[in-house]
Symmetry: C2
Subunit: 452 residues, 2 copies
């Protein structure tokens, strides 16, 4: 009888396999961080001998969700500034703090962000920020998967004096984490409007040399397009094409202001889109044409963006908002049905991570899965599992989050770090941020302390 490390049993397993099978009273066999088999409980029990069994009872197991675009460290800034015009928000609130950041503050903010992700069923994310090495330390502590790299700007950041330092930091990170099972490096030019064609060419060269994917904010707003047209006489997608960026494995975040022929081009080049409905709504950026992307066969993942423009890192919230937004925007309640949205949050996310092991539960796939408690009142009665996951769940029904066969979160406890200690450290983080933002040393007692 073949041996495996763990058997997981549950009332329902939503596999996201090519047949989109949903199995009742089913089990996963897990060995060496991978799914060895998935099937009816009695068949799996008869076929596999296991070191441990995890019987989840009346739960729904599904693949871990993948956040296709985020800045987890911005958890630091959650709720510091909302409901403001974009430029005010950036210049008066976000940039002053970001200019004063330290690796330790970034690490703590990221770790709290990862605590939220694990709590709400996210097992992998595509990240971009400053001091990304500190972000990776937090991801390593939390245990979830991350595709990340240092943000590359034309100007200095708190972490890097300029673009060559940011590229050097990216190269160093790639060397440090070469062969790491969960942490992988991408080259992260921030955007076309915060870099130059020369910098983008250097990014492309590093990515090609080290076989790294490329992750960039692209065509996020009409303003970005206008800036790009003025500077380069090309729209952002054409600029990236002409610089050869689209020849590489690419994850393009936002892509709100895109034309049909640009979508055709992106589809032909195999680019992956990270769609961020909450952020695009909160900042009034517009509606990315996700249904048109899917109709062209483009791979589309879902992202939360950073908590300063969401303010959650919760993929369940993101799924529901995506489904609702596109029905309204397209004037058609059949657009983006639950099953398509679930595909975006799993298989689309795997594409955005450039990691085909993720996003489904089938033999050979990564053993990254989550379990939702079906006894929650908002998950009853159950007629359609995908509908329940996309429309009815909040994410807090998650009672177990597993990456590579390792339980990282279960029933309020994080297996790899001391959550209470992290909460205590967040008070110091909060004081640091308030000082850096130029806010008075006071308690959150006023209706809007950030503007006090």
């Amino acid at each position: 009888m073949p041996h495996c490390h763990t058997l997981v049993h549950a009332a329902l397993i939503l596999t996201q396999d090519p047949q989109r099978r949903i199995l009742e009273n089913a089990s996963l066999a897990i060995e060496q961080g991978r799914v060895a088999a998935v099937g009816p409980r009695d068949e799996i029990l008869a076929a596999w001998e296991a070191e441990r069994e995890l019987d989840l009872g009346n739960m729904l197991v599904l693949p871990g969700l993948v956040n296709a675009h985020t800045h987890a460290a911005m958890t630091l800034l959650r709720g510091l500034a909302d409901d403001m015009p974009l430029m005010d928000w950036l210049k008066r609130r976000i940039f002053p703090v970001e200019q004063r950041l330290t690796p330790e503050i970034v690490r703590l903010g990221s770790l709290m962000g990862y605590a939220e992700m694990l709590r709400t069923g996210t097992t992998a994310c595509v990240d971009m920020y400053l001091f990304e090495e500190a972000v990776f330390q937090a991801a390593h502590t939390a245990g979830l998967r991350c595709l990340g790299g240092e943000a590359v700007f034309a100007f200095p950041s708190a972490a890097c004096a300029g673009p060559s330092e940011a590229l050097a930091a990216t190269r160093a990170l790639a060397e440090m984490y070469a062969g790491h099972e969960r942490l992988r490096v991408a080259v992260n030019p921030h955007s076309v409007y915060t870099t130059t064609p020369e910098i983008l060419r250097d990014c492309r060269a590093l990515a090609a040399e080290c076989s790294l994917p490329l992750h960039i904010h692209l065509s996020e707003t009409r303003e970005e397009t206008a800036i790009c047209l003025k500077a380069h006489n090309k729209r952002p997608v054409a600029l990236c094409r002409d610089l050869g960026l689209l020849d590489l494995p690419c994850t393009l975040a936002h892509t709100v202001d895109v034309e049909p022929d640009e979508l055709d081009l992106l589809a032909a080049r195999g680019a992956v889109i990270a769609h961020n409905p909450s952020s695009n709504m909160k900042l009034a950026s517009g509606v990315a044409p996700a249904p048109a992307m899917l109709a062209r066969g483009l791979a589309v993942g879902l992202g939360t963006d950073g908590p300063a423009s969401n303010n959650q890192l919760n993929m369940f919230s993101e799924m529901a908002r995506a489904a609702l937004l596109h029905k309204l925007a397209g004037g058609d309640p059949t657009l983006l049905p639950a099953a398509s949205v679930l595909d975006m949050a799993t298989l689309g996310g795997a594409a955005a991570m450039h990691d085909p092991r993720l996003g489904s539960l089938a033999a050979g796939q990564a053993a990254d899965c989550i379990a939702l408690d079906l006894a929650a009142p908002n998950l009853q009665p159950l007629y359609n599992a995908a509908s329940q996951v996309v429309y009815a769940a909040t994410g807090m029904e998650v009672r177990m989050t597993m990456v590579a066969g390792e339980i990282l979160y279960q029933d309020g406890r994080y297996s790899r770090f001391d959550y209470e200690a992290l909460c205590r450290e967040m008070s110091a983080v909060r004081r640091f941020v308030r000082r850096a933002a130029g806010l008075p040393e006071k308690a959150p007692a006023s209706p809007d302390p950030a503007r006090a």
Copy 2:
């Protein structure tokens, strides 16, 4: 020293009082179901002698949220049919089941809906459905406040042979619950397109005679306006005005397809709007002009509508979606700031209930409050309590829900009913609904069992 029944202590109390005070390390004194005092913990402790003290620790206490428009019993149908055109959805899925409903099935569906509401911090709701007496039984069991009444249609429902029977049922319900502290009756003509001017006149007469408010779906879609124009040569708001409906205390659900002069009229008449962003998005009905309503001084509450078109009864989800939707729709990230949305979910809801005791925590107000666990990772760090409640919370951070000083939900336990027994009864409900919908007797194993 004055005496009170309960003292509640918490790290933060968000009062929603006229000054929108947020008090740190604060307490509520509660006597006879009302707030006797709210203030700093040491002051309250020095001034009040209490039978019991409830020290909530690191929690945020705020007024119970009010769901301004729902059909709680439709929890029965959650996820049975999504992503369908409105008429298909109604005619192929919803109506066939609703024609076969029984009071007991309605009671069970409502009770599960109320379990979700209490779990996610809703303490009061405006409801409309069939067999509303069974809905009231469930509300009485759960303990939350409800303003409800039998839906009045021109045609027969499972509960009533016609409009006069529905009005008789409303009158009987009003007599049965006269003087009830938590359950109040409204007259509920379903809409202008499912009734006639004669029926609406009868509704008005009953409401005037018995001093009941009136609750109606109004101007939900452009189609409704077209039907009304064709039948009566008037838009829905004008029809209601001419029939005298707007002279009464009114709660108008949806009001998506409304013109500026109609908003002026509604503001002048003191009508209350129940805005349902999720439902309007999911059914692609359009965007109700909530910012324009608020600018005219209209009272606007937030509603989830029924779980068949949401699919949650979660006011936290609804608040975030309202804030995000109107920023996008108006192209302006400053629209509907967090504090305005929180006002809608509390004070606006109190207006929709026509019950000024609700929506804020101040001396003399109802002791309806909820407590959010500030240790949740998505609620850290805390800079702005209103932002955290509106943008960051999922609703599942609620650890205590209290109505009229009585704890109805705390840490997974409902005080007034056996939740596990209700879960067991839901299996029978599910079988009933599948049969009534003409679906095969099968398990939820297929990707979309509702269409299997």
